[in-house]
């Protein structure tokens, strides 16, 4: 991912800032310019999403693209955030056998990828199993 492209998204990736539509009261992540439900009738504002959720679905990646091939096997999950939308993210620091639909998770700040040995490091949100 190019430097400016990643940099633009830092608040969303680092602090889980999403969108809230004052018209239909729905939250969205990633942030939106136009409310997908209300379209032009919507009124979108930034909102900090809750950092807790539960696993809605998951998979274990065993064949990965080059940027992630040192990390296999790793868990990718769809997580339903508390009072918020679904988000796709990795669940880290776990044994793959421990993941089940319905388990509670919480957000952590981790490295997502690197632009090779010399490029920038991309940080962002991942999740861990919450006790």
């Amino acid at each position: 991912m190019s430097v400016p492209r990643f940099w633009r998204e830092i608040p969303y990736r680092y602090r889980l800032i999403g969108s809230y539509c004052e018209n239909c009261k729905e939250t969205f992540f990633p942030p939106r310019e136009i409310c997908p439900k209300c379209r032009r009738a919507g009124n979108i504002k930034n909102i900090k999403l809750e950092e807790e959720g539960e696993i809605f679905s998951y998979t274990v990646i065993r064949t990965a693209p080059p940027e992630f091939n040192t990390q296999t096997p790793y868990v990718v999950a769809l997580i339903k955030l508390k009072n918020g939308p679904l988000i796709l993210s990795q669940v880290t620091d776990c044994d793959v056998e421990d993941i089940e639909i319905g388990k509670k998770v919480r957000m952590v700040f981790r490295k997502i990828s690197e632009d090779g040995e010399a490029g920038i490091i991309n940080y962002g949100y991942k999740f861990v199993l919450a006790e």
Partner: protein, 385 residues
């Protein structure tokens, strides 16, 4: 709206075609189709080509011009169509609309993908272009992982089993063994499927369609031209297309692909038929779970019962509603941009009664279903004798 017919079809073999290039594949399929239609390039009014990513796989853009040029059809207007894995189906729809609207009388619709010139590790990344780059691929999701997430949830909500996922592959390999153009022409046992390596749990190698090279082509004609040129035209009686969220995380229900549901509704309405009237369907089994989910979304089975249907043999060649008589993407192969058009080729061959050992009995109405990405685009066509 004018009626639209298919008067010629052609395709290359699908597989790892080291001796073929993007250009040579397109020409091979195109010549076969033109010969089948009995026309020359000079009679063509427009060309539409589906190609997901010549830009990435072979670092070639501006394919539209390349195809018209190398196909010997200059100065015919040529358009490259892209909707990830639905590029072929979408190209077909563009051609259909050109004739239906009266803008063209004879249209060449092709689909092509040359995937094996790039390394396997690069291919994974290129295919993931169909997903949300910022919020899915960036976080480590691969394309198979998105369907794996759908599979896991479908198993959780409806009790679909890994065996049922595997039986789709078994059935499609059997059909593919009867298709001389298929990438894989051998049967596989359920045991072999269930023991193949995990790619993204629960999806295994044999639940995933392969990386293939190939091209397919159909010649479309207006009613007037069809009557003039063809003895056995096949009519496109319905066409539907719909969009859904590009990211899986933005879907209301990940066990349903609502672009399929919406596109199907449009197509059935235009054709004046219901799911019960369909005699066979070429369904987008990029991963076996998608054949199960789509068979439900297309209205063949109730939501959640697609797995059971495969188990009970309802979708076999001699079943109630044969699905993927060609072998599907799993066995026939999945050169991405070519798939949607290859599905149309199969539909036409079946309706002409020329499908040999894999012929569906009494085929009168067929359906093709082509999906882009994890369901962001769906294109459906209904064919009739």
């Amino acid at each position: 709206m004018r009626k639209v017919a298919v008067i010629g079809v052609g395709m290359t073999k699908f597989g790892e075609l080291w001796n073929s290039s993007l250009r040579s594949l397109t020409i091979e399929a195109g010549i076969k189709a033109l010969n089948d239609a009995g026309i020359g390039g000079e009679e063509v009014d427009a060309i539409y080509t589906g190609c997901m990513s010549g830009d990435m796989f072979v670092k070639q853009g501006h394919i539209a011009s390349l195809i018209a040029d190398y196909g010997g059809m200059l100065p015919v207007p040529s358009t490259r169509v892209e909707a990830a894995c639905a590029s072929g189906g979408l190209a077909l729809r563009q051609g259909f609309m050109a004739i239906a609207s009266g803008m063209a009388d004879i249209v060449v619709v092709g689909g092509v993908e040359k995937m094996t010139d790039s390394l396997g590790s690069q291919t994974t990344g290129y295919l993931a272009l169909a997903a949300d780059q910022e919020w899915e691929a960036f976080n480590g999701a691969t394309f198979p992982s998105l369907y794996a997430l759908m599979a896991r949830r479908h198993m959780h909500e409806y009790g679909t089993t890994e065996e049922q996922l595997g039986l789709v592959a078994v059935k499609n390999h059997h059909n593919g063994s009867l298709n001389p153009n298929a990438h894989f022409q051998f049967d596989v046992s359920l045991e072999k499927v269930m023991n193949s390596s995990l790619v993204a749990d629960p999806l295994r190698l044999f639940h995933c369609s392969p990386v293939s090279d190939g091209a397919a082509c159909v010649i479309l004609a207006s009613e007037e031209k069809a009557k003039e040129l063809s003895e056995d035209p096949v009519w496109i009686i319905g066409s539907g297309q719909a969009s859904a969220a590009i990211g899986l995380y933005d879907r209301e229900d990940i066990c349903t692909i609502d672009s399929t549901v919406n596109a199907a509704r449009t197509a059935y309405k235009m054709a004046g038929v219901t799911p019960k009237d369909i005699d066979f369907a070429e369904v987008h089994d990029c991963f076996t779970i998608n054949e199960i989910i789509s068979s439900e979304d297309l209205g063949f089975f109730k939501k959640g019962e697609g797995g059971k249907a495969v188990e009970e043999g309802l979708t076999s060649l001699d079943g109630e509603i044969p699905i993927n008589p060609s072998g599907g993407l799993k066995a026939k192969g999945h050169p991405v941009g070519a798939t949607g058009v290859a599905q149309a080729v199969e539909a036409v061959i079946q309706l002409r009664g020329k499908a040999g050992k894999r012929q569906v009995k009494d085929a009168e109405i067929g359906l093709t279903h082509n999906i882009g990405g994890s369901g962001g685009t769906a294109v459906i066509h209904i064919f009739s004798r």
